[in-house]
């Protein structure tokens, strides 16, 4: 089953690179959506369900952490996992991402292997939860 991933970054090349890297990682069938800042990302999220949001931190108008804060205020959006993709690598910044509600972060530069590992950890776990909720718990009485 295809997953929907929203890529949020004010850099067009970087959005293309993230998409290219996810495809190169062999993760799985993915529908990609794009936004150039947090405000536009929220507009996309109003109309389309996302399985994952991957956002840059440093963007004009609304940065990545502000986007996460807005998502957490919304009942429908608060459960969507968010990965921050960023050059910001200080321990304090990583702590800030986590405290604001980021599920994980990826530091630039990144390899396809790193991206695949992160996506599998997050979306792989989601797929397992969905199977359980649908009654497919693997037990056969």
């Amino acid at each position: 089953m295809a997953v929907n991933i929203l890529i949020v970054d004010d850099s067009l090349p970087m959005r293309s690179v993230i998409i290219k890297t996810i495809k190169a990682s062999g993760f799985g069938t993915t529908n990609f959506y794009q936004a150039s800042d947090g405000i536009k990302a929220l507009e996309v999220l109003k109309d389309e369900w996302m399985d994952l949001v991957m956002t840059d931190y440093n963007m004009p108008d609304m940065n990545g952490v502000e986007l996460i804060s807005e998502m957490k205020k919304n009942d429908e959006l608060s459960s969507i996992p968010v990965i921050v993709v960023t050059t910001e690598g200080s321990q304090k910044k990583v702590q800030e991402f986590t405290e604001k509600g980021a599920t994980d972060y990826v530091k630039k530069p990144f390899t396809p292997e790193t991206i695949r590992e992160k996506l599998t950890q997050i979306l792989g776990e989601m797929q397992d939860e969905e199977s359980f909720e649908n009654g497919d718990d693997g037990l056969d009485f």
Binding site: P13, V17, N58, T87, K108
Partner: protein
Amino acid sequence: MKKALRTAMTASISNVLETMFFMSLEFNDQTILEAGGIPGADKTISCRIGFKGKFSGYFILLVPEKLLFELTESFMGLDRENIADEHINGTIKEAINMLAGSTLSEFDDKVEFQLSIPEIIDIGKATGLGKEPGEEEIVVITETTESCLAFKAVINV
């Protein structure tokens, strides 16, 4: 501090250009732009990003246009004929963003630095920056198979 920052700049160039741009590179011992061949005969694109934190200043990346097209092809996976100005400008901005972040993390990951939004600047301005009283500059010149680029830090002291 200058030596430690130069070491961080060198490490980040290797890390960023090899990982994201798939480039093989060598480092030139020259520490002065002109002696290292920058700018050369071809048009050079330059980009600046500021930083603030434990100390402040800015980084500048200077790339010959022909090399920047090659970097954009590798980075975005586009064929040359499909590359537009917004792609090459976006590529150099993203390159300096990654180089700056990687350098500052490599220098000291316990200290928080803030980066500004990258901006394209005039080559004359780029080569002239770092000469004011109260400024120190560090230049790292990197050679690829056919060209070279320069990564420069200007620190406010």
